[in-house]
């Protein structure tokens, strides 16, 4: 049987049968296979398309539209499309019921490959004439906008030829649109439309249609799943309002009006529109409005609390100044505008009595100066002298200090716009001003003065260097204040980079002369710090380092101080880069000299620590080949010495702990054996620890494969050869396991599990549980001197997280802990929890909370601190595991507020109580309120002020629970 669409009865069928839409795919298959022509098909549908009853015609058009939508886009020929298009255009005049399908169908036609844009002229004319867009449903209106937009995308030039009628049609279709989604679409497409289609005499109409939405006042309905927000609409509307310069005047009138609105949102929108408009409008547009604009901006910019408004005002001001600056050479308006700003801000600064007021006004000036080169010149030219004069008023110390800092800001802007040459006479007053500031005895003045001087060092003139140096050297030698000291050193450094010769003669060969360096004992250490800092500058390196090394090798009493100074400054990588260190080492043989000194003083332990650090830091900066060479040179002799006395091992360790991963030689095995031996049998505790560290470094750095296997084998052999029954060794062994685990887990090796298990197994052992928890603590704690990236160790990401997971799994397997071992067990947990990332803890609340609550009963400061911290964290996150156990938790916390041994525990427990009051529902807390208030009273009289402060915070918070005036959603 042939299908119904091969016969004229098809029309009847469309009208009667609602389910015919499922057949569309079969019809299309027939069409594509050539079983039936489109003309034949349309003819068969004819009855339905031209039926007398509008309802039937609607069905017919719906069917046709559906068919067109499903057809492949390249199927219809241009001629066929022309006829279908004509037919659809004709249908626009039909009953309103038919219109939606017609519009939808035309949208499908436009998308066809062979559609010619010329067909659309008639469509649009008829559409605008026959169909009142705003009386259609939302989706149909959207389709109309979509058609217009698609046509413009398709052929802009043709659309331009449609002339004002087209523009008018578009305006009248969208006038009165109220749906947020449609508006969103219109606002995003309109700027392109306005920019590309000449509006002619309809400019004002177009503007009015858009402007009536301004400022957007809209609340999305709360149950809308994908709501358009007010902000989206407002952001999209702004570009429409300033899409073309022709809108300029109208837009400015609107803007000025809305800036004065009492609505906050209107103000913010207007300020944003102002910034946006500067992208398109001509500078002349703003000229008549500048006075009003400035007064509005000024009002918002000085708003005390609303940061968003303030930011918007700053941005608008910046955009406006930058825009106007383009006419600086032709128009007086720009200069007048900037001068207006200048005058009002100068007045504001002169009247300001607080820092907030001062900063507010100075920020406006900075924004203005930052906006353009021209404004920068005007502002800096008059503000620098003004601020210097302001400083002389001696208002208040804080304001004077702020003004010194402000000068630095102005200078930076002048540098940014490269206008230093234009304001030469003003700018060079700044260093002089700094000198006035640093001549004050107060530390705050000096710090501010020096900090500004560092910023303006390039304009410092020679004649000012000497007075500065006088003050600086005095500070460096006698200042007790660390901040001032470091700023002073930094300043000398900055000046030295600008005037190396002057500093050389004034400081290095003058005030801090190396020859008599040792004479003045008091200030020696400080001067050494300054000199070693200066040594990082190329001009000074040679002379200073040579002199220092000479002292190290010849002068016994001063050598430790020199080594300390060198070690401290050279570990500062911003001063001494790796190249610089390498250069110092190869030019001056730093390590050799230090080694000689170390060997000579080896029994004088307390001074040597800096020497070890210096060697290790220096080695870490050297390239692998250099490291290798140094090892070859020094290892044999030191190894020999180690055999006699274990203390020499410390030197060996400092040589070997910072090697690159690629450095390896045959000596490693011998050193590994020695380290293992010392780690377990060393007499001196430092030696034992360092031996463990070196074992860990070797295991962490060795390349997988032969090297690693060999070392790992050595380790295992050595450990099996140790006597198990030697009880002395056991604690040391557990600590060594800790180091091994740490080294392995940090490099991301799975082998750590084996060693970790050995540790967790001892947690339940009454005798060794303490060492086990210590070993866990060691694994979790970062130490700045071991296993760091600077020492070229491998540090895998998230190793702490991994440790948390593994530890958590392993503790599930160990037996129940006895009262004797429980504390150590909890302490191990504390180490793991305390260092694991908070996000991991959040996933394991159920597991951790009981441990935390359990721990609060133990008298162990470290344990309590960690657990209280975690408790605070959980409480802030409103975890129910805590609120469910308030009956247990609160008495324990109250108990801890009286913990005598540590104020930190008292503070933390009070903080927990505060957080609990802050986080949980009133109904949960109210039963405990009176008790807690009573229990907290003694803490108000705690002997430590910091505890009292927290007690006050917690107690006043508990007072508010359930009281009138408490702001807490319940």
């Amino acid at each position: 049987m042939t299908s119904v669409w091969f016969t004229p009865q098809f029309a009847e069928e469309i009208m009667k049968n609602k389910d015919l839409f499922v057949e569309i795919q079969s019809i299309i298959t027939d069409l594509l296979a050539g079983h039936i022509e489109i003309t034949q098909l349309v003819e068969n549908m004819g009855g339905a398309l031209t039926d007398k009853d509008a309802e039937n015609r609607e069905k017919g058009m719906k069917f046709f539209t559906k068919l067109l939508k499903e057809l492949p886009k390249n199927f219809l020929t241009e001629l066929q499309l022309k006829f279908i298009s004509k037919f659809y255009i004709d249908r626009l005049k039909d009953n309103h019921r038919v219109i939606p399908s017609v519009i939808e169908g035309y949208l499908a036609i436009i998308d066809m490959d062979n559609y010619k844009v010329q067909f659309c002229g008639e469509f649009l004319t008829t559409l605008f004439r026959e169909v009142a867009c705003q009386s259609q449903l939302r989706q149909d209106r959207y389709n109309i906008y979509l058609i217009i937009n698609k046509l413009i995308q398709m052929d802009l030039e043709f659309m331009k030829t449609l002339g004002p009628d087209f523009v008018y049609g578009v305006i009248s279709s969208m006038e009165g649109e109220r749906d947020p989604r449609n508006l969103m679409f219109l606002f995003t497409t309109l700027p392109h439309f306005i920019k590309s289609i000449p509006l002619g005499h309809l400019t004002e109409e177009m503007y009015e249609v858009i402007a009536c939405y301004y400022p957007i006042d809209f609340q999305p309905s709360p149950d809308d799943p994908a709501a358009v927000t007010r902000q989206d609409l407002a952001n999209a509307l702004n570009p429409c309002l300033c899409a073309t310069p022709d809108f300029g005047e109208n837009c400015m009138v609107l803007l000025v009006e809305k800036l004065d609105s009492s609505l906050r949102l209107a103000k913010i929108d207007s300020l944003k529109l102002l910034s946006e408009s500067c992208k398109t409008f001509k500078p002349e547009t703003y000229a008549p409005f500048l006075k009003t604009l400035w007064s509005s901006i000024n009002r918002e910019i000085s708003h005390k609390t609303d940061e968003e408004l303030k930011m918007a005002a700053h941005q608008a001001l910046s955009a406006l100044v930058a825009k106007l600056a383009t006419t600086a050479n032709t128009d007086q308006a720009f200069e007048n505008f900037v001068k207006g700003i200048l005058i009002s801000m100068q007045t504001a600064i002169a009247e300001s009595t607080t820092i907030t007021q001062f900063v507010q006004s100075s920020k406006v000036l900075l924004t203005t100066a930052n906006a353009s080169k021209e404004s920068c010149v005007i502002i800096t030219k008059s503000m620098i002298p003004a601020i210097i004069a302001y400083y002389e008023f001696k208002t208040s110390p804080k304001l004077q200090i702020a003004s010194v800092e402000f000068l630095g800001d102005l200078h930076d802007l002048a540098v940014h716009w490269q206008v230093l040459d234009q304001i030469e006479s003003q700018i060079k007053e700044i260093p002089r001003m700094c000198l006035t500031a640093v001549s004050q005895p107060a530390k705050e003045y000096q710090i501010a003065g020096f900090k500004t001087l560092i910023r303006v060092k390039n304009i410092l003139e020679t004649d000012l260097v000497l007075p500065f140096i006088e003050v600086l050297i005095h500070n460096v030698q006698y200042s007790q204040d660390n901040d001032l000291l470091s700023v002073s050193v930094e300043t000398v450094h900055a000046i030295a980079r600008k005037y190396p010769e002057l500093i050389m003669s004034l400081v290095v060969k003058g005030r801090c002369n190396l020859e008599n360096l040792t004479e003045d004992k008091v200030a020696l250490q400080k001067r050494l710090n300054l000199l070693s800092n200066l040594a990082s500058i190329n001009d000074f390196t040679k002379i200073i380092i040579e002199e220092m090394l000479k002292i190290i090798t010849t002068n016994e009493s001063e050598a430790p101080k020199v080594v300390e100074a060198l070690s401290e400054t050279m570990s500062n990588t911003s001063l001494f880069s790796d190249q610089k260190v390498t250069q110092i080492e190869s030019d001056h043989g730093l390590i050799d000299s230090i080694l000689i000194w170390l060997l000579k003083e080896i029994h004088n332990q307390e001074h040597l620590i800096h020497g070890y650090v210096l060697i290790s830091n220096t080695i870490s900066s050297l390239p692998p080949e250099k490291q290798q060479k140094l090892l070859e040179k020094h290892t044999p002799s030191i190894l020999n010495k180690c055999a006699d006395e274990e203390i020499y091992f410390l030197i060996l360790e400092s040589l070997y702990n910072s090697l690159h991963q690629s450095v390896y030689d045959e000596k490693f095995e011998e050193i590994m054996k020695l380290s293992l031996c010392l780690a377990l049998k060393g007499v001196n505790e430092i030696v034992r620890t360092k031996a463990c560290v070196l074992v860990a470094h070797f295991l962490n750095k060795a390349e997988y494969g032969q090297q690693f296997e060999l070392l790992y084998e050595l380790l295992k052999n050595h450990l099996t050869s140790c006597k198990r029954d030697d009880t002395d060794i056991c604690p040391k062994l557990i600590i060594l396991y800790g180091w091994i685990t740490k080294a392995l887990i940090m490099r991301g090796s799975d082998m750590f599990l084996f060693w970790l298990q050995k540790i967790t197994n001892t947690i339940t052992n009454t005798e060794y549980c303490k060492q086990a928890s210590e070993a866990i603590g060691l694994i979790m704690t970062d130490c700045p001197n071991h296993l760091t990236a600077k020492q070229h160790c491998r540090i895998s990401l998230l190793y702490k997280q991994r440790m948390f997971q593994s530890f958590s799994n392993l503790t599930d397997k160990i037996g129940p802990s006895t009262p004797d071992t429980k504390e150590a067990y909890l302490l191990s947990w504390a180490y793991v929890i305390g260092k694991a990332p908070k996000s991991v803890l959040n996933n394991e609340v159920l597991k951790i909370s009981p441990i935390v609550i359990d721990s609060l009963d133990y008298d162990n400061k470290d344990l309590l601190l960690v657990m209280l911290e975690v408790m605070c964290h959980f409480t802030q996150a409103k975890q129910t595991t805590i609120s469910d156990s308030l009956q247990t938790v609160l008495p324990r916390l109250v108990n801890l507020t009286k913990y005598v041994k540590s104020m930190d525990v008292r503070i933390k427990s009070l903080q927990c109580l505060y957080e609990i009051a802050n986080s949980y529902r009133t109904s949960l807390l109210l039963p405990y309120k009176q008790d807690i208030l009573f229990d907290l009273a003694p803490s108000l009289d705690d002997k430590k002020r910091l505890v009292r402060n927290m007690a006050v915070k917690a107690r006043t918070r508990w007072f508010l629970i359930g009281a009138p005036g408490e702001e807490k959603p319940n």
Partner: protein, 155 residues
């Protein structure tokens, strides 16, 4: 009808810096005595009932107007209304009192008074603030407690 503030445009002063924490305060052994600064820190952040400003910013309370006697267990706070006819003076005084009652150990006897010569009805205000029963009665009043709690709460 909304009441407009008595002093619409008060002078705003600089906020002082936070108390520097000294090493002595971290020493477990040493006893930190109460001092004027500590009392000042307790009340400096109380909000003015009329403005979103603290008593410190309005210089209603100042460190120099606070006296502490640790031996005699006495704390005396003088506060200065922004204008002599301020109708909020009693409320401010009450807020200071309530905060100190909650935050100070009970051994202290707290006196809150208007600084001499800074308010037209100075004696009346002082009398009210010193009268225990009237203070207690005021704290029975829910509306009043609400306002006071809101003033104190912003810590």
């Amino acid at each position: 009808m909304t009441k407009t503030a008595d002093n619409v445009n008060p002078h705003i002063y600089e906020k002082g810096s936070e108390r520097q924490i000294t090493s002595a305060e971290h020493d477990e052994e040493l006893i930190d005595e109460f001092d004027a600064r500590e009392i000042f820190d307790l009340i400096r952040n109380i909000n003015d009932p009329e403005h979103p400003l603290t008593l410190e910013e309005l210089r209603v309370v100042e460190e120099s107007n606070i006296a502490v006697d640790n031996k005699e267990n006495r704390v005396t706070v003088y506060f200065t209304p922004t204008i002599p006819h301020c109708s909020m003076a009693t409320l401010i005084g009450l807020s200071i009192r309530v905060q100190l009652i909650r935050a100070l150990p009970s051994r202290f006897k707290v006196t809150v008074e208007v600084s001499e010569g800074t308010h037209v009805s100075e004696h009346a205000v002082n009398k009210q603030l010193a009268d225990k029963e009237r203070v207690a009665a005021a704290l029975e009043n829910n509306n009043l407690v609400q306002i006071i709690n809101q003033c104190i709460a912003v810590m």
